[in-house]
């Protein structure tokens, strides 16, 4: 029985966890296995968890404005620890200005979810994009 494993991470000093916690509940209700990191994790800790738990999706919640440089760092450390960011979905949720979207996408982020995004949309994105990304990779 396969399950989609999702890591929900709060990285940096940002303490706003309402969204992350609500999302964790809803993803569980949608049939995913959800690992929540808790608050105040460093990029290394998030990457370590992502690799050791061999997750399919890394969801980073950040509302402190520090998404750059923190999110690219998470991706960088995943690679450093032997994980393959090209095989998993990297998602970011929070207060992300539009101008930062290209930078994040370039760093390897697959989806950016602004405040108000219905959770059903996030779930749909994961179910549709994960297999697509993996098929693209297994050449």
């Amino acid at each position: 029985m396969e399950k989609i494993r999702v890591l929900i991470a709060k990285v940096g000093l940002d303490g706003h966890d309402r969204g992350a916690k609500v999302l964790a509940r809803f993803l569980r209700d949608a049939g995913f296995e959800v690992i929540y990191t808790g608050l105040h994790r460093t990029p290394q800790e998030v990457a370590r968890a992502a690799v050791d738990e061999d997750v399919d999706v890394v969801g980073i919640s950040i509302l402190s404005g520090a998404h750059i440089p923190l999110v690219p760092r998470v991706i960088q450390y995943i690679r450093e620890y032997g994980g393959n960011p090209d095989e998993i979905l990297i998602l970011v949720g929070g207060t992300i200005p539009h101008d930062d979207f290209p930078k994040l996408k370039e760093a390897g982020v697959d989806g950016i979810f602004i405040p108000g995004t219905p959770i059903s949309e996030i779930i749909r994105f994961i179910k549709e994009e994960l297999p697509k990304k993996r098929m693209g990779k297994s050449k």
């Binding site: 029985m1 396969e2 399950k3 964790a24 509940r25 993803l27 569980r28 209700d29 949608a30 049939g31 995913f32 296995e33 959800v34 690992i35 929540y36 990191t37 808790g38 994790r41 290394q44 800790e45 370590r48 968890a49 690799v51 050791d52 738990e53 061999d54 620890y81 032997g82 994980g83």
Partner: protein
């Protein structure tokens, strides 16, 4: 990653390969069996410790503190935390990792090279979680982790099954003020080697302690009686073991009682080793495991080969007789 790479990676302690192998086991990937076969010779070195108890007793905190303590004693630690999956949606909230904290901010357990933490969902009653957990433990064992903690909620048959993989089982309780001690209903008392009353500063700690010690002394009396009847083997084992089940008190989030708990866990391991019990138990488990694996495959084969027979409208008892006759003919 192919089987070669995975096996090589696990045995050279490369975390990425260990993590992927665990996923294959969880997903019952056909390659997982081959991986397990190949790493099997390198297992048997780890001390497997089961940690169980009702939700809220502080299992995760105790796992975290024990990990810290074992690290202080120079041991590498692998942790498997099993959480129940929702029977309706199949999803799970695996919330044990986030409780992994060292008291020293500079000695971060998440980034400790000698700590490996894996969260698992039970994935349903028929998911074979006990077997999977056992396999994951073997992988961690082969990867060289010396102490392997298996954390699971103690409430039900499947969880008890999970704990059969452990050499030492620690049952954690909470103080209770009533007479109707809750944990009595869970059926996990029999499997405990060490009992811990956590949050021991709360009211009701002595109450539970008294009750436990009483139940455990009953256990010994029953044993004496049974020895006079039929359970000679079981009794011989227990007498050989010479292990009186200790009842400890801890206040885990303050680190109180953890050293003593670690000491008892180590002591139990020594007793198991000294009396040859450890080897015996493992041999037993390996036999059972082989039997189960064989039965699984045979069952699948039977369902395939005798599909037509199975589809016949007959009472199941007659049907079973027929199938056995067919099988024995082969």
């Amino acid at each position: 990653m192919n089987v070669e790479e995975l096996v090589e990676g696990i045995l050279s302690k490369k975390r990425r390969f260990l993590a992927r192998a665990i996923t294959l086991v969880e997903n019952e990937h056909p390659e997982s069996k081959e991986v397990l076969r190949r790493i099997y010779p390198r297992t048997g070195n780890a001390h497997v410790i089961g940690i169980t108890g009702f939700p809220g007793v502080g299992k995760s905190t105790i796992v975290s503190k024990l990990t810290e303590e074992f690290r202080k004693r120079g041991k590498s630690v692998g942790i498997v935390a099993v959480d129940p999956s929702s029977p309706f949606t199949g999803g799970a909230l695996l919330g044990d990792r986030l409780r992994l904290e060292g008291a020293d901010v500079n000695k971060n357990l998440w980034l400790d090279e000698n700590v490996f933490f894996r969260s698992m969902g039970s994935r349903g009653r028929l998911g074979g979680i006990a077997k999977k957990t056992g396999d994951v433990v073997k992988l961690l064992d082969a990867a060289g982790y010396e102490k392997i903690l298996v954390e699971t909620v103690g409430a039900g048959q499947s969880e008890v099954g999970i704990l059969e993989v452990a050499d030492t089982v620690v049952v954690i309780l909470m103080p209770e003020t009533g007479d109707d001690i809750q944990v009595n209903k869970a059926g996990i008392l029999e499997i405990g080697d060490i009992f811990v009353i956590n949050k021991a500063d709360l009211e009701g700690a002595e109450n539970v302690e008294r009750w436990l010690k009483y139940m455990l002394s009953l256990d010994e009396e029953t044993v004496m009686e049974l020895s006079k009847l039929s359970h000679a083997d079981e009794v011989k084992l227990m007498q050989k073991l010479k292990w009186k089940k200790p009842v400890l008190k801890t206040i885990a989030d303050r680190g109180i009682g953890i050293k003593e708990l670690a000491n008892e866990i180590e002591r139990h391991y020594e007793v198991l080793k000294k009396n040859g019990i450890l080897q015996e138990k493992r041999r037993e488990k390996a036999k059972l495991s082989a039997l189960e694996l064989a039965i699984e495959e045979i069952r699948a084969e039977i369902a395939k080969r005798y599909k037509d027979l199975l589809d016949r409208e007959m009472d199941p008892y007659t049907l079973a007789d027929r199938i056995v006759k067919e099988v024995l003919k082969c």
